[in-house]
């Protein structure tokens, strides 16, 4: 009872903060402030993911997203030095379309929430039946979140993991190749020229007369 109340308090506080900072992300005209509000959104969502017992992914969100990706965003925003002066015009121009989209989403939400209760309750009762059948096993199975993920990540999802590693490698190579500044005066090998060379290009035989005594 007490922990359910605490969970509700945490959920409402942090989901409210998440939505407010997400609103500021799209309303800010200054890109640096926008990135900072996006960081705040990620941090508040990490708390919500904690509430869902996804501790590993929550910490990954903080470490990888806030620590690496958002820093990258911040660096790029500061490097490009863009002036954003005329966003307000666009807000006025496209506000009707945005309101139509919002109305569509709210309608979709109402549709889902009306049907959600019975579907979710049905499935949850099915799940609880399964869990009561395997009650003994589940009681022993109090492993941590990271342990559960690790158990399946390297066995069932091994191929997908290697694919993800490949994607990261390709992303690294691509971004280095794209963003590298090509300077004119740096020395490098020309592999084709080195392979296609012949001996006559390198060695020159000259005939020298031997000295006579």
């Amino acid at each position: 009872m007490h922990s359910a109340f605490l969970e509700a308090v945490f959920f409402y506080v942090f989901s409210g903060l998440t939505v407010i900072s997400a609103l500021f992300v799209i309303l800010q005209s200054n890109a640096v402030r926008s990135v900072l509000f996006l960081i705040a959104t990620f941090l508040f969502s990490a708390v919500l993911w904690m509430l869902l017992h996804a501790e590993f992914l929550s910490l990954i969100l903080v470490l990888v997203y806030v620590g690496a990706v958002m820093t990258l965003f911040l660096f790029v925003v500061m490097m490009l030095n863009i002036d954003l002066t005329s966003v307000g015009r666009y807000v006025k121009k496209y506000l009707p379309i945005a309101l139509v989209i919002l109305a569509a989403f709210v309608g979709l939400l109402k549709l889902v929430c009306d049907n959600a209760d019975n579907i979710v309750m049905h499935n949850a009762s099915l799940a609880s039946q399964v869990s009561t059948n395997q009650n003994v096993i589940l009681e022993k199975d109090k492993t941590s979140d990271i342990e559960k993920i690790g158990m399946v990540l390297y066995t069932d999802y091994a191929f997908a993991l290697e694919l993800a590693a490949m994607i990261l490698l390709v992303a690294m190579v691509t971004s280095i190749a794209l963003a590298q500044r090509k300077t004119s005066n740096f020395k490098k090998q020309n592999i084709t020229k080195q392979i296609m060379t012949e001996s006559k290009n390198r060695v020159k035989l000259v005939s020298i007369n031997a000295e006579k005594y």
Partner: protein, 101 residues
């Protein structure tokens, strides 16, 4: 009592905010990339809520892979933005029409 419906409403609101952000800030590529990140966050929250509901680890593994792909996407997208800014001097979406004949 916090149920799955609460998390579904939250992630739908986040997704809608990201979508509206793309519609409103269509001038700047970096804003659009940030709104895409917001939408991915909403989707991941939904995945985790259902993984928690069914007590299934598959949803969490899927979120792991979504995070991987999103990081790669952000890195390549920002590299393209830097290249575009270096060559054209602006990253205004309206002005990117050089491939038009």
């Amino acid at each position: 009592m916090i149920t799955i419906v609460h998390y579904m409403i939250l992630s739908a609101v986040l997704f809608a905010l990201g979508f509206v952000g793309i519609v409103l800030n269509r001038k700047n590529i970096i804003h659009i990339l940030m709104c895409v990140e917001l939408m991915l966050l909403a989707v991941n929250t939904n995945f985790l809520a259902f993984a928690h509901l069914y007590d299934d680890v598959a949803g969490e593994v899927f979120v792991f892979f979504v995070l991987t792909v999103a990081a790669a996407e952000a890195a390549i997208g920002l590299a393209v933005v830097v290249l575009l800014f270096r060559n054209r001097g602006s990253i205004n979406v309206d002005q990117i029409s050089h491939l038009k004949g």
